[in-house]
């Protein structure tokens, strides 16, 4: 904090008021509602409600469809995080090495950041369209009996591919700026000691990038959990048979389409706990980074 500060009794409250008011009305109140509703059960006509403790949790979270969505979300997040980080790291390392064309490479590799997930989703969806999609035709031509409308694996493949494509650019930007933050002297000293660029990368560069990588892992998991909603909603919509439902997509489906308030709220609360866990991990790590 600052050594010198204003001493004033009302002015600071006026400055924070707009943000606090919006937060209370649109964040805290709805969140409290979600928690409250997760303990209620409404009858089929919405005429009466009763307090049922953890029954909604038990009913939704132990249901096969929720467990299916949960396991798909885990696998999906792991794949998207790993693949988009790996591709971005490779590209960032290479882009950091070249001098000729460096600017063009950088620009073309990062610009997809600006594309909205549902837009990427629709583009990808059309590339896989059975009538016109070249990717669909290509995979079938090489002997893969590809049909993402019927086959769960193929549908998963489509959403993972589009989600990775959309996420590479963010990771690329952070990795590149991390690489550029490594002092020249470190690289020069390493070059003197070790001839193999491959070993140099894994023993010097990669450990120095560890804070960036760890931070990006949290960002990517969050992305895979939440922001991919737009991609799922414009590609598979959970089909076939709920095999590509993510947890967020399911909350939306059950709440709006299915009008199952209690169950949807219980799922929301579980998601809150997941976000809480991710945030704790992130802040733990940031504290550690300070001691570097």
């Amino acid at each position: 904090m600052k050594r010198v500060q204003f001493e004033h009794s009302t002015i600071p409250y006026l400055f924070v008021a707009p943000q606090i008011i919006i937060i209370v009305v649109f964040f805290l109140w709805p969140a409290a509602q979600a928690i409250y509703q997760s303990f209620l059960l409404e009858d089929a006509f919405g005429l009466s409600t009763q307090f049922v403790w953890f029954r909604n949790y038990k009913d939704t979270i132990l249901s096969t469809s929720w467990l299916q969505a949960a396991s798909f979300t885990m696998l999906f997040s792991a794949l998207v995080t790993f693949l988009s980080l790996a591709i971005a790291l490779l590209l960032a390392v290479k882009a950091n090495e070249v001098i000729r064309g460096a600017r063009t490479y950088k620009t073309t590799l990062m610009w997809a950041y600006a594309i909205a997930p549902p837009v990427a989703g629709l583009m990808g969806n059309l590339m896989f369209n059975p009538l016109i999609g070249d990717l669909y035709k290509f995979f079938n031509a090489i002997g893969w009996d590809f049909d993402h409308k019927l086959d769960a694996f193929d549908a998963g493949f489509v959403v993972v591919l589009i989600s990775v494509w959309k996420q590479v650019s963010v990771n690329f930007i952070f990795f590149l700026s991390g690489l550029q933050g490594i002092p020249k002297s470190v690289n020069e000293a390493a070059t003197l000691d070790c001839k193999s660029p491959f070993r140099r990368f894994w023993t010097i560069t990669f450990p120095l990038l560890a804070p960036t990588t760890f931070f990006l892992m949290v960002i990517n998991i969050t992305y895979a959990f939440f922001e991919t909603f737009g991609i799922i909603d414009t590609t598979t919509r959970g089909a076939p048979g709920g095999s590509t439902n993510t947890l967020v997509f399911k909350v939306f489906q059950d709440g709006f389409r299915g009008a199952d308030l209690g169950g949807s709220s219980a799922q929301s609360v579980v998601l809150m706990l997941i976000v809480l866990a991710l945030t704790v991990v992130q802040f733990r790590f940031i504290e550690r980074k300070v001691h570097y």
Binding site: F15, A34, G101, A114, I132, W165, S265, V275
Partner: protein, 281 residues
């Protein structure tokens, strides 16, 4: 030219193609006639139908949605992007200023309330948020669309971090000269933060423009659709099938929804990268 350098360029070129080809194909396909697309599939080279497709999508009634014009969706997206960016900067600068520069009783609890927003992304409170907005009568309004989005903590954290790095001597000097808190903010802190403000504005414009879930829930009338919401509608139309699928219009819509944020990012590239990397720390 040695092998290593050659392979480096090869990898980068493959990456470049991977990241740009889908959008290029989307653009090229959007410039062909629907019959051509249906017969020959996706197109890798621009066709002659560019003016016709985009005129239909942007300006013709019923050309792409039932009633709303592409041009109006573009306008709505712009309002959302700009409104979100400006609102976010204003609100978070004010809050960060109070938290860093004032000594007051509730500073710590208020900071934690702002922090809590990180734990409550829209996705975990979708339905109750909808209920709040609808009971306030804010469905289908710009206020209801923008205001609930601008309160999250990211901007506040960013400015808090930046204000802390501003030398203390400035405030001491300003106080000796008898500057009021508002004057210090307006005449010293804001001009000092210009670059930071620009960087955040750019990022937030892109984030606002790309909003999906919130506008989806809270716009019911077609006239309030943003381009990104139009994407969902056209997906629906294509999925339902019909006479001749208008793939060129769907692609044109993806291009229109992509172009403005991409241009902003490309034009202000260095600010954008700086803002992104700094704000996420």
């Amino acid at each position: 030219m040695n092998w290593r350098l050659l392979s480096t360029h090869a990898i980068l070129l493959i990456g470049m193609v991977f990241m740009t080809l889908p959008v290029w194909v989307a653009f090229c396909t959007s410039t062909h006639a629907p019959e051509t697309i249906l017969r020959d599939g996706l197109q890798f080279w621009p066709g002659s139908n560019f003016a016709e497709t985009y005129r239909q999508v942007l300006f013709v009634d019923g050309g792409v949605m039932k009633s709303v014009l592409g041009f109006d969706m573009l306008k709505n997206s712009l309002i959302l992007g700009v409104g979100f960016a400006i609102g976010k900067v204003v609100i978070s600068m004010l809050a960060a200023y109070a938290i860093v520069y004032f000594r007051f009783k509730l500073a710590v609890p208020l900071f934690w309330i702002i922090f809590m927003t990180l734990l409550l992304p829209l996705e975990v409170r979708i339905i109750p948020s909808y209920e709040v907005v609808s009971s306030l009568g804010l469905l289908d309004t710009h206020t209801g669309l923008i205001v609930p989005l601008i309160a999250s903590a990211t901007g506040t954290f960013f400015f808090r971090q930046f204000f802390r790095s501003v030398p203390d001597e400035l405030l001491e000097a300003a106080r000796l000269d008898g500057a009021t808190p508002w004057r210090f903010f307006k005449d010293i802190l804001v001009p000092l933060s210009k670059t930071m403000i620009a960087a955040i504005l750019i990022i937030m414009f892109v984030v606002g423009w790309n909003q999906y879930l919130w506008p989806l829930i809270m716009t019911t009338k077609e006239e309030n659709y943003t381009l990104v919401i139009g994407i969902k509608q056209i997906y629906q139309v294509l999925a339902e099938g019909g006479e001749l699928p208008q793939y060129q219009k769907a692609f044109a819509l993806t291009i229109l929804a992509t172009l403005p944020p991409v241009l902003v990012v490309l034009i202000f590239q260095s600010w954008f990268v700086k803002g992104l990397v700094e704000s996420e720390k």
